[in-house]
């Protein structure tokens, strides 16, 4: 059994070359959830962009938020697309929103029984899944029911 939620062999995520999401990936490595916040209007924004969509400021910072959220939507995947998941069996992907940060959302897996009932609105807390056996190493933010 793998210590990770999904079987190994999926593509390794890396910060994009222009640096736009580097703070996010660096934060995960230190067990921190860091997302974009406009330094001008203080609005939260995700996925990352060069411009604040509210006030059009280019002065965007990155700030830590608590890694707790609410399931906004979910899906149970049965048909493996990637060869690495051929023997995976069903798995659950959740879209988690953050009321504490203007309801921006991230994608993750819901840990636990893949056949568990799924409930929109359920509270979840983050689990930092450190992949230490790849080159380079990386961290994913996963979720479990709070």
């Amino acid at each position: 059994m793998s210590e990770y939620y999904l079987n190994p062999g999926l593509a390794i995520p890396r910060a994009q070359a222009d640096g736009l999401d580097k703070a996010y990936w660096d934060g995960l490595a230190e067990d921190k959830l860091i997302i974009q916040r406009c330094l001008s209007c203080k609005g939260w924004q995700w996925g990352p962009e060069w411009l604040c969509h509210r006030c059009h400021s280019f002065d965007l910072g990155y700030e830590e938020i608590e890694s707790t959220g609410v399931i906004y939507s979910h899906e149970r995947v049965w048909h493996p697309i990637h060869p690495a998941l051929k023997d995976q069996g069903p798995y659950v992907v959740v879209l988690v929103e953050f009321p504490q940060a203007d309801y921006v959302r991230v994608v993750g897996n819901l840990l636990g029984d893949p056949l568990q009932p799924l409930e929109i609105g359920a509270k979840v807390k983050g689990v930092f899944e450190h992949h230490t056996d790849t080159d380079p190493v990386y961290t994913l933010l996963q979720w479990q029911l709070a």
């Binding site: 890396r14 994009q16 995700w46 939507s73 048909h79 990637h82 995976q88 994608v107 897996n109």
Partner: protein, 394 residues
């Protein structure tokens, strides 16, 4: 005072055609040859010389370059070459809108809208990224096993179904209707392969709420449609089929990365549909027949709702096989078999069928069709829709 800034009634469909439709990878012809065959077929259907074509319009980064086609056809005066941005089939009616714009503004006189696909030649849709690394937006989704269109869109559909109490049977009815219609359509890849409720229920999950039969096929082939100015409406053997309206668009931050559009559980048509009806000067209740792009049945369901044809909380009563399959039903839907059961020609086959319904030439002809609507590519951005009308609608 008349509004000149409209496409309404300014162009007419001269001819349509499709190649033989194949399962993915089974076309004996190269993709470019398929495009040429469909275009020549549409010319023959219109009764015009291919040398009359002076414009090309396509979408989804079609690989058949219009300059190469113009050279192949020996066209003397190329006036219009347009590519509608956006992935998936969201651009099918948008490409039609661009063609109609060129006709309506006098930029061109005879524009062909086309789409050609040979996935065997060029690789498949719906496959996961299999490179060693991932970055940018996919890095925020694919490490969690969210990488295919079905997986991207099931998340939206689950939210919509939750918000409005939609049951699986509503999705099933959409699939059954498509297969039902395909049994009368010899062009359909699923002709002779009927589907019933039991077979649907027993089919494997792809990703909940999509069973296998909720997902579009993968096919090879090509389709084409020729538009000319409305003044030529009586020059052809077909009864006139006018473009009443065609346009594209999407709502506020529909393209916000990593599933962050605020209004998420949507087919993306909420802002498009009102403009569509405004331009066409028809109401939802005027629509006689609908072709609605099925990437997945859930997208059809939301498209129908967002085009005002069914209240969001009445889906379970509305989406029944009876309502979707006959002239007496509430909304005859996907009467060629659509992307699910005729062919996944990236949705342009739906526009072709929408025209045939106005012409009275469908293999599942609905009685007295005057207003025939097509919705293209739900859940992507931009999406697009169009409305065709008979002479009586002008």
């Amino acid at each position: 005072m008349s509004n000149n800034r409209t496409l309404r009634g300014k162009s007419v469909v001269a001819g349509v055609a499709e190649t033989t439709y194949y399962k993915r990878g089974e076309s004996p012809d190269a993709e470019f040859k398929l495009a040429l065959k469909a275009i020549l077929g549409a010319c023959e259907n219109a009764g015009i010389s291919p040398k009359e074509i002076d414009g090309f319009s396509s979408y989804s980064n079609d690989r058949s370059d219009p300059s190469r086609i113009a050279a192949a056809l020996g066209i003397h005066d190329l006036r219009f070459a347009s590519m509608q941005w956006g992935g998936g089939g969201g651009g099918a009616s948008g490409a039609l809108a661009n063609a109609a714009s060129a006709i309506s503004t006098g930029m061109a006189e005879c524009v062909v809208v086309f789409r050609a696909l040979a996935q065997g030649q060029f690789g498949r849709f719906g496959q996961g990224r299999q490179s060693k690394f991932t970055s940018g937006e996919p890095a925020h989704t694919s490490p969690f096993g969210l990488m295919s269109p079905a997986q991207m869109f099931a998340m939206k559909v689950n939210r919509f179904m939750h918000d409005h109490g939609v049951k699986q049977e509503a999705l099933r009815a959409i699939s059954l209707a498509a297969y039902h219609h395909a049994q009368n359509n010899p062009r359909a890849v699923m002709h002779g392969r009927p589907l019933d409720a039991e077979k649907y229920d027993n089919s494997r999950w792809i990703v909940e709420p999509f069973h296998l039969y909720d997902c579009c096929q993968e096919n090879d082939g090509a389709a084409a449609m020729i538009l000319v100015p409305a003044e030529r409406a009586k020059d052809f053997d077909h009864p006139p089929c006018y473009v009443l309206s065609a346009l594209s668009g999407s709502h506020y931050r529909a393209g916000a990365p990593v599933h962050n559009t605020p209004d998420y559980g949507t087919s993306t048509f909420k802002t498009v549909a009102p403009r569509l009806y405004d331009m066409a000067q028809v109401k939802p209740s005027d629509v006689d027949v609908l072709q609605s792009y099925e990437n997945f049945t859930g997208g059809v369901l939301m498209s129908v709702v967002e085009h005002g044809l069914c209240a969001p909380d009445e889906c379970n009563e509305f989406f029944t096989l009876e309502n979707l399959t006959s002239s007496s039903g509430k909304l005859p839907l996907n009467t060629s078999g659509g992307n699910l059961a005729e062919c996944y020609m990236h949705g342009l086959g739906l526009n072709v069928e929408g025209v045939r319904q106005v012409w009275g030439e469908s293999t599942n002809q609905i009685k007295d069709v005057n207003v025939s609507m097509v919705t293209s590519g739900p859940m992507v951005t931009p999406v697009s829709s169009c409305i065709f009308g008979s002479e009586a609608t002008l």
